[in-house]
Amino acid sequence: MPEIFQFDFMTRALIGGSMVAILAPAFGLFIVLRRLSLIADTLSHVALMGVAIGFVTSIYPTFIALIATTSSAAGIEQLRSRGRLPGDAALAIFLYSSLAIAVIVISKSSGFNADLFGYLFGTVLSINDRDLWLIGILLLVVIVFVASFYAELTQSAFDQDLAHVSGVRVTATNLALAILTGATVTASMRVVGVLMVGALIVIPVLAALRLARGFRTALLLAIGFGLLSVWVGLAVAFYADLAAGGSIVLTTVAMFALAEVVGKAKDYFSARHGASDTGWSASTSSAEPEIDADQR
């Protein structure tokens, strides 16, 4: 058995990390396509407030964070959908008010700085069984949700008005998406920390979008990139003695760069070989006047 699996904490980190690596990009795909990446950042600061309150009240901090993120997500979505505030204004208000509350709560009770550091930068190596159970349940909920509401989610990601006219209940879909984003952020926070949550939700998705042609491929690729990032990141962290959260996030960035290179290579070869597999030749031979791809 390789050295890395001889430690109990490492096994737990791998299990927890892998679950989050599936959860975050699977959901992140819809967040990125709806251009809601900033919502993940906002909710991670809300999660920090939840963690701070959890420490002070000595209630399970991750659980308080979960309550805080899901309810704030619902609140943000309500403000946004009713047109009371532009989307980014609602986000700013939630981000800074929760950060301010977190700062006040933390400053009032200076006793958990070390723990707080862990929540900011990720504590995957000290993840406990309770965390694993919570993440496991969230993972199950998100998988069931994404699989069963796949049609609704893809439709409203493509265009909200079109989805409405197709008969999708867009408001309800958006609300569910927001609430589960809160849950995803809370789960991811344990692995990469509050400050880098957005990375695990967004970057594997960007890598997948560079290569995928269809929606299901994009979903699977995003999860694949997420898993690879967590595994490679954890291994590097273990053997080189680096911070796990940081090395996982840097690995996602490396995956993104790799996807760009592979994508460029694919573009280059399909341009050279008449692109019969991508259908370019078929379209140029059609009678319809083609607007150059560069103009799209």
Binding site: A147, H164, G214, E288, P289
Partner: protein, 279 residues
């Protein structure tokens, strides 16, 4: 002729027989605006006291300059906006409460998801038009369904079936969206014609396709357009909008006066010449 030509002389110039058989006037109403008003955020009304009907089998063209409230009318009809005053009905039901969306197809001018490397093939986008409510197994559905292939064929883009939607030209995307809108065989088709990005040939083919959907597939069409000349050939009824209804009736009843009122300058002479050529 000049801008003061009467309605009668227009009719005389283009007798109704030349339009083929007139549709009977007692067909059921599928979309109806009744004294509809709308203003954004309580400001100046964008739509002012609009009343008109679209009947089954119509090819209704909604014409008007930029900012005339055409797109607002479309959004009201689709229940995406609620009228400030008056009512908008789809198949006899308030459009805000309407739920039977399988009867309606919609082709927007542009789509939010485009430009984000949206990961979908043309086929996947067209399949969206077959949505019929919650289906927990939708993620496992196989591609290549018969309805989808037929819709792609009607829209003339069968060869683009497996292409990523993002790689298409504006005109091709328009066809993909039309295929998406017609795949469920709706009774009523709403279209918002793109202002730019499609050249003259592409625009003619677009109008031919819409006409054939109306005539051969029996779909009622509600088209927002800027292209009077092209619309005149296919449309059975025309509404000229400049916040309020300037003209409503068969397209060959439009006079220079209506158009001057619509666009604020006399455009009749040139337009009529162009029409003669088309005929």
């Amino acid at each position: 002729m000049d801008a003061t030509d009467s309605v009668e002389s227009q009719v005389a110039l283009w007798p109704e027989e030349s339009d083929g058989p007139e549709l009977p006037t007692d067909r059921p109403v599928v979309c109806e605006f009744t004294n509809t008003w709308y203003s954004y955020g309580g400001g100046e009304p964008a739509v002012e006291d609009v009343s008109f009907q679209v009947r089954k089998g119509d090819f209704a063209a909604i014409l008007g300059p930029n900012g005339s409230g055409k797109t607002t009318l479309l959004r009201l009809a689709l229940g995406l906006l609620k009228p400030t005053r008056g009512s908008v009905e789809l198949f006899g039901e308030s459009s805000a409460r309407f739920r039977d969306w399988s009867r309606v197809g919609y082709v927007p001018q542009r789509v939010e998801g485009m430009g984000t490397r949206f990961p979908a093939t043309v086929e996947e986008i067209v399949e969206q038009g077959l949505y019929r409510g919650f289906d927990p197994l939708s993620i496992f559905r196989r591609h290549g369904r018969k309805e989808v292939l037929e819709a792609l064929d009607v829209a003339g883009i069968s060869h683009l079936r497996r292409r990523p939607i993002e790689s298409l030209s504006v005109g091709q995307r328009q066809r993909a969206l039309i295929a998406r809108a017609i795949v469920g065989q709706p009774d009523l088709l709403f279209l918002d014609e793109p202002v730019s990005g499609v050249d003259a040939v592409g625009r003619d083919r677009f109008h031919e396709l819409i006409s054939s959907l109306n005539r051969e597939h029996g779909m009622t069409v509600f088209l927002i357009s800027h292209d009077i000349g092209a619309v005149m050939q296919g449309a059975t009824v025309c509404a000229c909008i400049n916040r309020t209804v300037v003209f409503h009736g068969p397209p060959h009843h439009i006079t220079g006066e209506h158009l001057s009122e619509l666009y604020g300058f006399p455009v009749d002479v040139l337009l009529h010449d162009a029409l003669h050529e088309h005929r």
